[in-house]
Subunit: 360 residues, 2 copies
Amino acid sequence: MSTSFAPLKNDTFLRALMRQPTDYTPLWLMRQAGRYLPEYRETRKQAGSFMGLATNPDYATEVTLQPLDRYKLDAAILFSDILTVPDAMGLGLSFAEGEGPRFANPLRDEKAVRALQVPDLSSLQYVFDAVTQIRRSLDGRVPLIGFSGSPWTLACYMVEGGGSDDFRLVKSMLYDRPDLMHHILKTNATAVAGYLNAQIEAGAQAVMIFDTWGGALADGIYQTFSLAYMREVVKQLKSEHNGVKIPSIVFTKGGGLWLEEIADIGADAVGLDWTVNLSKARAKVGNKVALQGNLDPNVLFAKPEQIRSEVEKTLQAFGKPAANSGHVFNLGHGISQFTPPESVTVLVDAVHEISRSMRA
Amino acid sequence: MSTSFAPLKNDTFLRALMRQPTDYTPLWLMRQAGRYLPEYRETRKQAGSFMGLATNPDYATEVTLQPLDRYKLDAAILFSDILTVPDAMGLGLSFAEGEGPRFANPLRDEKAVRALQVPDLSSLQYVFDAVTQIRRSLDGRVPLIGFSGSPWTLACYMVEGGGSDDFRLVKSMLYDRPDLMHHILKTNATAVAGYLNAQIEAGAQAVMIFDTWGGALADGIYQTFSLAYMREVVKQLKSEHNGVKIPSIVFTKGGGLWLEEIADIGADAVGLDWTVNLSKARAKVGNKVALQGNLDPNVLFAKPEQIRSEVEKTLQAFGKPAANSGHVFNLGHGISQFTPPESVTVLVDAVHEISRSMRA
């Protein structure tokens, strides 16, 4: 199927992930298709709800492409939600307006945990259809990133039943019944690997695993309950499709202390948040993985000169890319819904201009 | 005034902070006087509100001593709130039931920032009265810790007007108007140093600076906007009172990546959260500062065997204390209001027993 896709015109992002030379530092933004864009809010209004957007391939394609029409971004990322997989497992996902995700059937006891199964991927066909349709619509402009939540991050929502600020329920289970937690994580790892591989089959040209809540775990616990299962996912990923390499990115927000261990699980790139010193990170693991990040999204609330100055600091921290190293510019977390859209123009131009001049 | 206090019967905590030999690893718990204790909830009901408790030295003394009557803790900590200082600056603190702190007059523009002044310490006399009364009531059982929020952490609340999960307003000011942010932080640093010194004069035997939100800052920004001002506070602290050394502790939650820099600001001890590997931390800075921490409070929701096992892991991670090193056991964050009080008994006994046997 994917043999019919248009050839790629801008492969800078993929080259950086594979630590090959590039003319400039490529960038994309986590949550780049989102509420800060008026055209996104308009489409969402038409769709009626967030899930109305995410489950309809036409809408998903439309919003995925919106930021690319405005900005010279170097990658597109599938518009979807990390909770599609637990939803397909029968947990009953909903989004109450202005709140966050909610599961009608969270995993709170042994019976619920033991009943958990890897979902039939056909129930996620709407995601794979969106991937294929987006890839076609991109027409080779930039590569398309597929993604999933990490096994641990999915487990947080599956046990808590929604967002949490202390992770009391999921960590209570982890410490009190590690056997149940491992059962959830093993199931999630199999599901996530299958889900990402199906996205690759459908047209995703790179994949990213979002471990949004790994940084909430204790040292030692993180390695056993989050990192080990991401390693399992990466091991099961198709590293190429139709003879083309599919690079993978892992991102544990708040995982800076575990950088060397994260760089060791077999992924091609590691995402970093803004607490990490890019220069030190490169010195530690830059010859093993590409690095992605790591501007604080709040920089985008400053004036253009300050945005440029912070972009330059970030690019200089990584330093001049050399053979066998790669940097993909990104924020250290999703872009804020309150971001002025014109700040993103300043950001994108600054990254491209400054990184080009650094290579000159 | 403090010459009239009873001599100290248990100085294990102070000795550990000063990296002197101890018979066992001392412990106390952040927020040990709190809602998980039924007797605390009872006193709070009488007081009518949180601020009713904190501003009345009789109530503050009563709740400070409650956990010591139940558990063999090795230190008491003043019952108060980190926001007393900005309240004294005229920002108008209130606590809405079930919400969090709110400031009626947050710092949102240049005029408000420029009007900010170091408060007259007499407006905080209720805190110093509480310190003296608690110290007397302790009658030498264990040392009393005084505390303050860090300049940056106070600034977060002062600009946001309350809690925040993205720090958008305070970081917008930081990136857009660093001059205003430095003005706030400089004022806060002077106020915090004076506040802590007055607590020392009133009877505090150690002081702790809580930098709860330093870990939200980017690398480079943390050093300039949080750490530099904590260094300023530490420099101004009375390191002894009436010929007795007053040790200081700094704690940046989420600051593990900056451990070496934090250990370098002149404090006697550094607090650590659970993401930090205690063994590595000790290897890096253990001969320069004592370490305090770092169990995940959620461990207290597990069964007694698991609690003991996690305590043992934490003690073993630090390793056998040797000359010139010190470990104070604590949680990596405040104890949860949902903690079963009997779990704390298990914890306290485990820390004392296991750490004694490790020294045998």
